[in-house]
Amino acid sequence: AQSVTQPDARVTVSEGASLQLRCKYSYSGTPYLFWYVQYPRQGLQLLLKYYSGDPVVQGVNGFEAEFSKSNSSFHLRKASVHWSDSAVYFCVLSERSNYNVLYFGSGTKLTVEP
């Protein structure tokens, strides 16, 4: 069975600091992986996704994520956060055999302090 674990329910960083949000997955094959972000009172928005090839994928607003098959991880990074990055971030997985069903992590609430 597939699952996604985001071990940090809440992360607080200072504006301008670097960021890493952790994501571990459990899946027997190589999954499709996504990061979505939800700003207050808005729908989830896609930040980036991984299919194959270069394990580091670039997303919007300076975000990137690195896929590691050996560690079963897909951590999200940003070099310098802005207060507007405060939101809830979801790591998401889908199977290559059925990419329409998404499996979500529990989310990490990021607070960026001025």
Binding site: Y32, G43, L44, L102, S106
Partner: protein, 115 residues
């Protein structure tokens, strides 16, 4: 970017009553989805829908649940009758096509409380 709207944003209802959750998907999208998130838990897939039919559903999609999109209007999730365990946030999503390259766009969710 493209937006999915959900109406209402909050709904409180007595157990046993019927509730309809409405989703206004992205205008040219053809595939529609519902997800359920119980407080403190992960969001979980309920159902996807295309061309007037349920394509796939999870074990969470109980017999009391139904979905439809009559005449290209709202994509709806109906629960009849409701139960206490139906209290959750329900997220609607839509996509133009199926496939990895096609992003699912999500609404902000409807918070349903069953008393």
């Amino acid at each position: 970017g493209p937006k999915v709207l959900q109406i209402p944003s909050h709904q409180i209802i007595d157990m046993g009553q019927m509730v309809t959750l409405n989703c206004d998907p992205v205008s040219n999208h053809l595939y529609f989805y519902w997800y359920k998130q119980i407080l403190g838990q992960q969001m979980e897939f309920l159902v996807n829908f295309y061309n007037g039919k349920v394509m796939e559903k999870s074990k969470l999609f109980k017999d009391q649940f139904s979905v439809e999109r009559p005449d290209g209007s709202y994509f709806t999730l109906k629960i009849q009758p409701t139960a206490l365990e139906d209290s959750a946030v329900y997220f609607c999503a839509s996509s133009l096509r199926q496939g990895f390259q096609d992003t699912q766009y999500f609404g902000p969710g409807t918070r349903l409380l069953v008393l």
